[in-house]
Assembly symmetry: C2
Homo-oligomer: 623 residues x 2
């Protein structure tokens, strides 16, 4: 039991620095750190294998701080492990520091950005799954708070972890009873957590989270036992443990101690040897090849043949992944609709069926990305909104994830509005540095998917439910930030900018107008973000009127039209946005495109209206 005394002293030092750093910052969550100080001290000092010089060593254990507000604890643990001087903890929450209020990738030991609660177990499941699939020896530890166990995503992750038999995953629950504004739903009724996790297929170890011996035995058991079940150590703890006047008290969430209270607190902790440090275990050194970049891939199509871009996605992803060995695919039980099933059939070892649990699926992908996999996450575009917060946090995590949303727009037809992706461009467009593609045919889809794979960061592709004819030659090239002019003459009045399904409506409109001797340009904006500003401006220069008509199967705000308007701002262009402005309904594709006012006939009317309005009725219409 010599160890226990040492743990106890080290835990004191951890507590000290969680208190000192937050008081120095004048904000933060010290009490949420103190409750978990004992259990994490034992973990780091005795069980955790990690090479501080190589965070991405594939032999390293993984520690995910799901309760991100306990960031000072995370930083203290790594400082105590020798990653940097303890004094540096005093930079917590300062502008120039990497020690942010909640963990972000600026702190290189953070497996993911956390702070939006309930996501860490999914990230951990992603990390643990990679170890299972690739026979890697590391363990993944996830520290969760009790408040965040109310998030449904936790239970998505729990099902996922037991279904995939992630017995290398060890969840640690810091049950400190108190949420932010009141007691949690279950307070200290530990049995409520025990029964829930047992029923979800976990090996449950319930302990006093401040009894160092019980903690030690719990880790001993959880790290040895490999019976196919994920582990959860449910630790009954005291929020603010170690400082009597904040212990187990309401109204102390997210509050730093004032200077005078800090002195009192430190004197309660008693003398602490400031030189104590953790003994990290040395991990196996395992080097994993990093991703390869392929940005061309060939499949040939017959012009005019009808193929849905979602079908193309499946085929291309499957083929491309023969070359790019670190592509994974995840799907939410719609793989026969998104066509990721083609990949699932050819690459079962890199396929992850996420079932109907989109939030977990996205955060699992964050875990995969951390280990340099390239996850393609596919479901209906409408259901990617289910994971909007996880996508937001994936960006904060600097994750490299490729999203594919099928069944976009009213053009899906009979299934009705609940199934229509109509706000997805707004969602992905708001994310800094994201890219958005929407190919209209098989050739462009085929050429753009390798660009997604090669891009680092958040990329998104909209795919169509309905079949569309192949309009491009197989030799045509497509680029990030590019576009294509599909109709063009020396005598164009204005430009119609379309993307995806509306390309065909625009083409039909242009061809009808031509019969009336009204020439218009049609631009296929297959890359929505970044948009092809050069081409837009070229069109404005080359057409008679400085008029752009954007037409999109997406809601009016935040879509293609807004990207176009921003791109040509200041050029005196007149832009007409044609988009969906109401809740759609069931009907055929053509009925709904017409009902939404974005089909060829509405485009024709809009073109004529625009030309009339300018007192510039084309000759053809004067006859």
């Amino acid at each position: 039991m010599q160890n226990l005394k040492e743990f106890s002293e080290k835990a004191k030092l951890v507590r000290k620095w969680c208190l000192v750093s937050t008081t120095e910052a004048e904000s933060g969550h010290p009490t949420s750190c103190l409750s978990a100080a004992d259990i994490t001290t034992v973990l780091f000092d005795k069980y955790f294998s990690y090479d501080l010089k190589d965070p991405l060593n594939a032999g390293n254990d993984r520690f995910v701080l799901s309760k991100g507000h306990a960031a000072p604890l995370l930083y203290t643990l790594f400082a105590m492990a020798g990653a940097f001087p303890l004094e540096q903890l005093k930079t917590l929450r300062k502008f120039d520091s990497n020690l942010e209020g909640h963990p972000t990738p600026k702190f290189i030991y953070a497996e993911a950005a956390t702070g939006s609660l309930g996501q860490g177990l999914s990230v951990g499941a992603g990390l643990a799954l990679v170890a299972k699939r690739e026979n890697l020896p590391y363990k993944t530890y996830v520290l969760c708070g009790d408040g965040e166990l109310a998030e449904g995503q936790i239970w998505e992750a729990a099902n996922f972890s037991s279904h995939y038999e992630l017995d290398n995953l060890i969840a640690i629950l810091d049950i400190n009873r108190l949420g932010q504004s009141q007691e949690t739903m279950f307070g200290h009724h530990i049995e409520k957590y025990v029964s829930r996790f047992q029923s979800f297929g976990f090996e449950v170890i319930s302990i006093d989270g401040h009894d160092l011996n019980e903690i030690d035995q719990a880790f001993e058991q959880a790290t040895k036992n490999q019976n196919g079940k994920p582990h959860v150590i449910i630790a009954k703890t005291i929020k603010g443990k170690g400082v009597s006047f904040v212990e187990n008290k309401e109204d102390w969430h997210g509050k730093a101690l004032k200077k005078e209270d800090l002195e009192k607190a430190l004197s309660e902790l008693g003398e602490v040897n400031g030189d104590l440090r953790f003994h990290l275990k040395e991990p196996q050194k395992i080097v994993r090849s990093s991703e390869s970049g392929v940005n061309s891939y060939s499949l040939k199509y017959e012009k005019g043949k009808e193929i849905a871009t979602r079908e193309v996605f499946g085929k291309v992803l499957s083929g491309l992944s023969d070359q790019i060995k670190n592509i994974y695919a995840l799907d939410g039980d719609v793989k026969n609709s998104t066509f990721s099933e083609d990949f699932f059939k050819t690459h079962p070892g890199r396929s992850i069926e996420g079932y109907i649990a989109e939030q977990n699926m996205v955060s699992v992908a964050v875990g995969l990305s951390r280990l340099k996999k390239i996850p393609f996450v596919a479901t209906f575009a409408a259901f990617l909104t289910r994971a909007a917060d996880q996508i937001r946090m994936a960006r904060v995590s600097e994750a490299n994830i490729k999203f594919v949303g099928s069944h976009v727009g009213v053009s899906i037809g009979e299934d009705g509005p609940s199934q229509m992706g109509l706000e997805d461009i707004a969602l992905f467009g708001a994310i800094p540095d994201s890219i958005i593609f929407q190919p209209c045919d098989a050739v462009s889809a085929t050429k753009l998917i390798p660009h997604m794979a090669a891009h680092k960061g958040i990329s998104y592709m909209r795919t169509l439910r309905s079949k569309t004819p192949v309009i491009y030659n197989n030799e045509e090239e497509f680029s990030l930030g590019g576009s294509k002019l599909l109709r063009k003459s020396a005598d164009d009045e204005l430009t119609i900018i379309a993307s995806g399904i509306t390309v065909f409506e625009a083409l039909k409109a242009a061809d009808e107008l031509k019969k009336e001797n009204i020439n218009v340009r049609v631009m296929d904006c297959y890359c929505i973000k970044p948009i092809d500003k050069i081409m837009l401006n070229k069109c404005l220069e080359e057409t008679k009127k400085k008029i752009l008509i954007t037409v999109e199967d997406h809601y009016e705000h935040g879509g293609l039209g807004d990207f176009v308007i921003s791109a040509v701002d200041g050029t005196k262009a007149k832009i007409s946005k044609m988009a969906v402005t109401k809740i759609s309904r069931s009907g055929t594709k053509d009925e709904l495109l017409n009902d939404a006012g974005i089909n060829f006939s509405h485009i024709i009317a809009k073109v004529k209206e625009q030309l009339m309005k300018k007192n510039a009725i084309p000759e053809a219409m004067m006859k």
Copy 2:
């Protein structure tokens, strides 16, 4: 047992019409209807109390179809109850029909739009909670599929229902084993569902979902027993039950029978008496007063005093709700940050602590709205993104919900990017007919909250973490679609358009510029959607340069700037968007506003740049 024979015959008729209607539509999910035909037949024919002439009668039982793809079943049940002729079912999924592919409010008996899975139990919990709070006698039934039980929101709803002791809620699980693309995670392992729901505090009744006697007894038990626990009837069923060649078969999800297969199926069902109808029980007639509209409410502030708009929200909501008796408030364990705690203290009977489970909270609000409550849903703006899909579906449901997102933008400071609401305008802006407010001071916040309460539909208010000085007189009026000019002269060069925290940066910039004899207008765009187009155009007319500079604490795409650009399109205005374009970090409010390039000094630089660029250096700068 006379009943059972009758049930059996009626269930046959239900099956027939689910098959006929989908074949007629040539799409839909007949097999998902057939698995639940028996259990819903017994429910409607013997237990369900409902006045078809008055769907909003407060004595009516409630039936929520969480598995929205079984819409044909829902329609058939109400047709069998006498709501409309069975023949009308043949209009399923047609453009002019109210019988859409998934239920929407066009079908007046649908309690909510469903089709995005896993949301119905939360809606039902909202309905059941109202009955508990207001002593109403009805029961709420929710039919869930097994695939959707993978959604975390189900478990949020389960915790919520048992915590609030909703023993008037009866969940029915149609465990038909098969998802869309493969077997569900648990297939027919009924015990997995039993243990999960037991551990979540439900009274569990497990039955054969095709044994009419067991079904009858289950409802008997669930409707009688009131021990504080919500009920779940877990029914083991066969997907496609009743039609041998689709029963329990993969690849039959979401596929209508072809005409020839339909004939075969109907002959298997055997002779069916087409005149059979359900006997609905007559509900108690209970009239509830509908909402009152108050759109003014008074609280006085001292000019210059510093108050955060989030604090104002709490006070005003609390005061206003003394007058408007159907306001409810929901919060996700941050009520001491959003300040909805003021309402919680004064109106505990209409307060709902949702804990950290935003998805459930929003769908519970959909249930409240259905019963003509006015729910105010508050949490950090960043965490409203957690419920983006539920907000989307709330709009499809035509729900009347008021969202309040606190802690917007980088101006929150030290907590870092995970806590910053920076895509919320894009999210709420995309939703058709939504309104968005962002008051910058206490007076405007006070005046706008009653407008939110009076508005019907989805409305959203951004509130600020930091205190801001009162700048308006208490007499000032604020309107939907309005704005205020805070700086104005006869000699203005251009207009700065700000909202929320950036109003103060713009004012500071304007005052600094004035010292250099550069006059600029400052517009407080407290209503972001609909935006004040008239004022924007007036400013363009009245300033020397047709220049607008928008400055917002939100990401660049989908925010205030895009609303402004769209509003003035075609006017030859030049718009400069100043917005957040990268992931922020921890720091002080002022450091982060500066880092994001949206503080007063960047505004000053932008104004000067714009004026220079136009070769229109103001005299003051020529000296």
